[in-house]
Subunit: 248 residues, 2 copies
DNA sequence: TCCAATTATTGAACGCGTTCAAAAAGCTCA
DNA sequence: TGAGCTTTTTGAACGCGTTCAATAATTGGA
C-alpha cells in the first residue's frame, strides 16, 4: 500500500494481438465478477478462465482494483443508458433524483458484495477527471437541467456537484449496508429526494442559500474551491466575522 | 468475507495464564502498530514479537481487524483524556467543536496509515452500543452541554448525535486524505466548526430547524428512528405532503 | 534474410490473513 | 496417582494479491 496510488501507468497493448488479449481478459473478468462474485472471481480464476497465466493478467491490469474500477464504469454507463432519457420529461427535481437512484439500485444490486471494494476505489484514487466521474456528473447535470420547475437560479450552477457529492455519501452507506436486501440504503434514497427538493426551494431565502454555499464548499475537496468562489461564506463566518458584521 | 461479521464470539481466556497471554499479545500489537505501521505490523510479526505462534494469536483475536479496533478504542480514550476537561470551560459551541477535532488530529496523525483499516472497521461492524461509540458520543455530549451560550433548546437533545454522525463523515475524509500532512481534512475540520455554530443559531427559525430534523433522520441509520420521532419531517415531506399542506 | 530491439507471456516465488487438526499443558475428581 | 476433561498452544497448510526474472513471440531495419 504505502502511498495511495493511481492506476500505475501500465503497459498498454501495442500490437493487435495484445489489444485482443487485454479485451478478452476484461470481458472474462466482468463475466466472472457477475457470475461468481468478488471473492470467487480471484485473479487466478479470471486468468485461467481467459486462458492466460496469472502473471500475464498483471501485465495489462496493475491490480484487481483496476478491474473493479472498469466494472464500476460499466455499471455507471448502464445506469446512464437506463435513465438519461427519463430525465428530460419535465418532472420535478425530486422525481428526477428518484429516477437516478432507482436506476442505480437496479444496476448495482447484483453487485452489492462489491460494495467495499467499489468504495475503496472511489476513496483511494483521484478520479476527478476520470471517465467515471464524467458519467456521474453528467447524470446529475441532467437531473437539474431537466427539472421543472427549474431550481432557483442562485444554486442552479452548483446543485449538480452538490448532488454528486451527496450521492457518494449515499453510496458509502449502500456499500456497507448489511440490512436485508439493502433495506436501509433504499429507504435513504427514497427519503432524501423530497428533502433535497424542499431544500432547493428554501434556497430562495438568503439565509438558507448561504447555508447551502457553506455546506457545498465544506463537502467539496477540490483544492482552492474556496478562493474561486465569489463570496466565501465559510471564511466570512470564521475569520472575517467582524468585517461581515459591519457589512450587514 | 462473505457476510459482514461482528467480532466472532471468541475464546475468552479462562485461566490467569490465558489472560496474561492475551494482554501481552494486545500490548505487543499496539506497540508494533505504533512503531512499524499497519503494513509491517503483520500478524506474524506481532505473534513472534509476543513470543507466541501465529495461530495462537488467532486464538484470542479473531482477526487483525479486531486488534485494529482495540487500537481505535485506545486512541479515542486518549482523545477523551486530552479534551474532556477543556469542554467545561464555558466556550462557544464552535470552540468546543474545534477542541474535539484538534484532539482527534493530535492523537491520530501518527496513525494516518491506519485510516483505511479504521474506516473499514467502523463501516463493516455494528458498533452501536460498543465502548468505542460510547466514548465518541460522550465527547459530543460534552461539546453541547458545555457550550455557552447553550444551543437552541429545540435541537439540544439531538445535536450530539448529529455531531457524532458528522464526525464520522469527516473521519472518512481524513482516512483517505492523501494531501500532504492531511492538509485537506485539517482544513475541513477547521472550517466546519463555524458553519455548525451558525447553523445551530439559525435553528431558531422554524424553517431551518425542520431542515435540521430532516437531515438528522436521513443520516441516522438506526432502524425505526423515524417512528420514534414525534414529528417526522421526512415522512411529511414525502408521503404525507397533502395532509401537511392542509395543516399549514 | 538475419539480427536486435520490443512486446507478450510464463512459472516460480513472496508475504499476507486465515483455518484446522492435533499436540501439549492444566485441572478435577476417584 | 492417573484418567478424563477442558484450556492453551502449535505446525502446517490454503488461497489470496502481487512481483520478478526468464523465456517466447513478434516486429522493424540493414
Amino acid at each position: 500500500m504505502g502511498t495511495l496510488s493511481q492506476p500505475t501507468p501500465l503497459n498498454q497493448p501495442r500490437t493487435g494481438k495484445g489489444q485482443q488479449t487485454k479485451a478478452k481478459l476484461l470481458r472474462t473478468a466482468l463475466d466472472a465478477f457477475a457470475e461468481d462474485g468478488y471473492q470467487a472471481a480471484s485473479m487466478r480464476a479470471i486468468a485461467s478462465r481467459a486462458g492466460v497465466s496469472l502473471s500475464h493478467a498483471y501485465y495489462y491490469f496493475g491490480s484487481k482494483e483496476d478491474i473493479v474500477l472498469e466494472l464500476l464504469i460499466a455499471l455507471r454507463a448502464e445506469q446512464f443508458e437506463i435513465c438519461s432519457a427519463q430525465l428530460d420529461e419535465g418532472n420535478t427535481l425530486e422525481a428526477n433524483i428518484r429516477i437516478v437512484f432507482d436506476a442505480s439500485v437496479q444496476v448495482m444490486e447484483k453487485y452489492h458484495d462489491f460494495g467495499p471494494s467499489f468504495l475503496k476505489v472511489l476513496l483511494s484514487r483521484d478520479l476527478e477527471n476520470s471517465e467515471l466521474t464524467q458519467i456521474e456528473m453528467s447524470l446529475w447535470e441532467s437531473v437539474v437541467a431537466g427539472a421543472r420547475p427549474l431550481p432557483p437560479l442562485a444554486i442552479r450552477r452548483d446543485l449538480p456537484r452538490f448532488l454528486w457529492l451527496l450521492s457518494r455519501q449515499i453510496f458509502s452507506t449502500w456499500a456497507y449496508d448489511s440490512s436485508p436486501n439493502q433495506r436501509r440504503s433504499r429507504a435513504l434514497m427514497r427519503n432524501i429526494a423530497p428533502v433535497i427538493g424542499k431544500f432547493a426551494i428554501l434556497c430562495r431565502l438568503p439565509v438558507v442559500r448561504s447555508l447551502f454555499e457553506d455546506v457545498l464548499s465544506l463537502m467539496d475537496s477540490r483544492a482552492g474551491s474556496i478562493q474561486e468562489r465569489t463570496t466565501s461564506t465559510v471564511e466570512s463566518a470564521s475569520e472575517h466575522r467582524s468585517s461581515r458584521a459591519k457589512a450587514s
